[in-house]
């Protein structure tokens, strides 16, 4: 392969990886970025989405059913976590971290019980191999990437253009004020959790044919999501999408140049210097820790 | 000495988004004087305080302190030069006791420095009996007094007070007045408040602000100032 073809492949693959990262991170943007609640189970919700897809495949149901049922299930789990636990101590940051980390372990071990320890996979509903000049690429990967990107953009428009985005922000920034304006903050936070959980589950189901399904897959997703959310500027949906894409491309392109592990080091170092150079967060005092 | 400007703001402008909070505002503060600043809500008073103490950077214009340009100085360097600040909503350290709060203000080093004036200041402010209380346990008015005490203990040359009477009861306002009177001549004070009578009674000169500009500056009981106040408040009433 020529270096130009390599570059083409790296760009394509980077965009697909980036779109997936963006969609997974988007849910976290809503709960953590906008509402300031550090929900560490976010990656596990993604894993639950993928696991649901596998369970439905085992039950011989079509892939489309996973796209429908997985987000419903994960949204319900997210809402349950909020109602049963987080809401009871008013989303106090320290207690939230403890509780959601505990839940992370519980969900992970539950998945171990259901999936078993070995990786699982589901087939893609359609899988054309796309031939480009000099390299080939999986049609489903491209499709899933595009779907992730479109969904992310859709959510962006939905939240930014509707009253919902405003309400989500208001609910966090000043609960008292929001309540005096007759906004039911409890319900707004609930909607935020449902949306966030649903997005994570949808991303998990959508990518289940292109990633292996494993009980430990949530932790990586969580860490990557946090990084993407923060690089995009906490609470900015458009920023999250841009950061996801940028990170995906960056990882792909650095891998062309350097030994793989060094390439990852370089990606992390670049992300870090971006944060330092922008002096991010200096003017914001909302987050206590 | 008294006629030399301690600090001057020269044609300072500052806007937030599309809103012009300060427009080419210029003012001089003399050594040892109390300068009152009056104006309706949104006139630009707090922004003025911000650019003087360094929590806000002006878009244009200069801040001169004792003949040197401090426009680009950080808040900390200005504090070292002797510019102190009390906030509209009092800011003290709630985890520390009253004594510890005041002690931190006494000196900036880690060693501790002199705390000679600490007890005296505390007594003067009526905080003498509260020294070992946590600041978080104080009432709003006591917190206000504590913040003023901290500002005084940092031995400033210029004290910028942003709405010091806000949230104070009648009696507390009276004692605040007497404290400020006691300061006359010792340091310069920029007294920003919306209580016209309070400001006029304490200040030698009063500056009236409206829509980001100084509309009048003069003797506290002067005619110009009186008219300007009337106009500014009537328009916005």
């Amino acid at each position: 392969m020529t270096s130009l073809e390599n570059l083409g492949l790296a760009l394509l693959d980077g965009l697909v990886t980036g779109s997936v990262m963006a969609l997974v991170a988007l849910g976290l943007t809503i709960v953590f970025g906008i509402m300031n609640i550090a929900n560490l189970t976010h990656g596990e919700l993604y894993m639950l989405g993928a696991m649901t897809s596998w369970l439905l495949f085992q039950a011989a149901l079509p892939f489309a059913s996973a796209l429908l049922l997985a987000p419903l299930l994960t949204a319900a789990v997210a809402v349950a976590i909020n109602v049963l636990i987080l809401q009871r101590f008013g989303h106090e940051p320290g207690q939230t971290i403890l509780a959601t980390f505990g839940l992370l372990l519980i969900l992970q071990q539950t998945a171990l019980g259901i999936l078993g320890p070995a990786p699982r996979s589901v087939p893609a509903p359609l899988n054309p191999i796309l031939e480009f000049s000099g390299f080939s690429y999986s049609g489903f990967n491209l499709l899933a990437g595009l779907a992730c990107l479109l969904l992310a953009l859709l959510v962006w428009v939905l939240v930014e253009r509707s009253r919902l985005g405003l309400l989500l922000r208001a609910a966090q920034e000043n609960r008292l004020m929001a309540e005096s304006l007759a906004i039911d903050t409890g319900r707004v936070i609930l909607i935020g959790f449902a949306l966030s959980g649903g997005l994570a589950g949808l991303a998990g189901a959508l990518t289940s044919p292109i990633r292996q399904i494993h009980f430990l897959m949530g932790l990586d997703a969580l860490v990557v999501s946090f990084v993407v959310v923060v690089l995009g500027g906490v609470g900015r949906i458009g920023g999250t999408i841009a950061a996801g894409l940028a990170l995906g491309l960056l990882e792909s392109l650095t891998a062309l140049l350097l030994a793989p592990t060094l390439a990852r080091v370089l990606t992390l170092a670049l992300a870090l210097s971006y944060i330092i150079a922008r002096r991010l967060g200096v003017a914001r005092g909302v987050w206590r820790y | 000495m008294k006629n030399r400007p301690l600090l001057s703001a020269r044609r300072v402008s500052k806007s937030f988004g599309g809103v012009q909070a300060l427009v080419d505002a210029s003012i001089e503060i003399m050594e040892g004087e109390i300068l009152g600043v009056i104006g309706p809500n949104g006139a630009g008073k707090s922004t003025l305080a911000g650019v003087i103490v360094g929590s806000l950077r002006p878009d244009r214009g200069q801040i001169i302190f004792r003949d040197s340009d401090i426009t680009k100085y950080s808040r900390r360097r200005r504090a070292e030069l002797g510019i102190a600040h009390t906030h509209q909503i009092p800011r003290v350290f709630p985890s520390l006791t009253v004594r510890e709060n005041m002690s931190l203000a006494c000196s900036r080093g880690l060693g501790g420095g002199t705390e000679d004036g600490l007890h005296e200041t505390a007594e003067r402010l009526g905080l003498g009996g509260l020294l070992s209380l946590k600041a978080s346990q104080l009432s709003h008015g006591q917190m206000r007094l504590l913040e003023i005490g901290m500002a005084l203990l940092s031995s400033p040359r210029l004290l910028v007070m942003d709405e010091p009477t806000q949230g104070l009861a009648g009696g507390e306002v009276a004692s605040l007045s007497s404290i400020l009177r006691g300061l006359a001549g010792k340091l310069a004070v920029v007294l920003i408040d919306h209580r016209v009578d309070f400001v006029v009674s304490l200040s030698e000169r009063v500056a009236v602000m409206n829509l980001g500009r100084f509309v009048a500056v003069g003797a506290a009981r002067g005619r110009d100032v009186g008219l300007a106040i009337e106009e500014a408040y009537l328009r916005w009433a």
């Binding site: 207690q95 939230t96 403890l98 980390f101 505990g102 923060v230 | 929590s55 350290f93 985890s95 002690s103």
Partner: protein, 316 residues
Amino acid sequence: MRPRLSNLAPLVIPLLLAAAYPLLPEYPKALAARIMTLSIYSYGYAVCFHMIGVMSLGHAALFAAGMYGAGLYTIHVSPDPLMALAAGIASAVSLSLLLGGLAARVRGPYLMIATLLASQTIYLAALHFNEVTGGEQGLVLEREATLVGVFRPLMAEADARYFISLLTLSAAVAGVSLLSASRLGKLFLALRDDEEKLESLGYNTSLLKLTAFSVSGVLSGASGALQALLYSYVGAGYVGIFNSVEPVLWTLVGGPYVQVGPFLGCLLVNVLGDLARGLPRGHVLVVGVGLVAFSFATGRLGWVYRLLGVSRGREE
């Protein structure tokens, strides 16, 4: 604001541990030694978390710097455990200046992620330069070159391990207690309460953060170095993200009282984990349930601290 002798009341913890020594069966003794070593890391974390209110997700890097510093010194320079301990602490402190520098420039969630990225970078570097670091597999230190080895003529390994960690823990407890009562400690609290206000009083808050991070580096590095020098093993398995999250959990469970909380939290979480390990299956699940339960209990444990005579750390 001068520290008084009464500020040393939290030393009751190491005293109790010393008194418990003859009563403990062998395994609890070994476990206690392990927890003491780790709780020094917990104190190191709490200096940043509770005293200046900075949440870092990169402290595993400080622990690792102490561990690799001590381990590599032993292997490549000289098998002198005390010098190795110093080398470990020194490398952790240098790294803590880097993290502290980050804290001076970046805040809030951005700082969490910046520190996370920094420690992940170090983790991957430790993997990549495996000829030096041993990569994920790690390196084994010659036992004779470790602290335990030095004390072997005098006492059994298990005893040496217990008392060396106890001694270091006592120093950490005393240090942190005196620090929190000192003027510097008050400045740390003031920094946590209101950074801008402190700056407007003329204090250099960046310098204060650097100071807090280096104190944290000393403690975290000492803990990491002890891990290497007491257990003869150095490896990248200690640098992963889990190892940065663990002290967050310990200090949260232990509560805001910086003199005793870090130890109690570390103790509670580890003892729960150890008891659950005795279950034939599902012990991670039990730890998860335990953490959820702790999340409800934290903040209601004030009486425990009052009982121990600790006056205050952080206001709730």
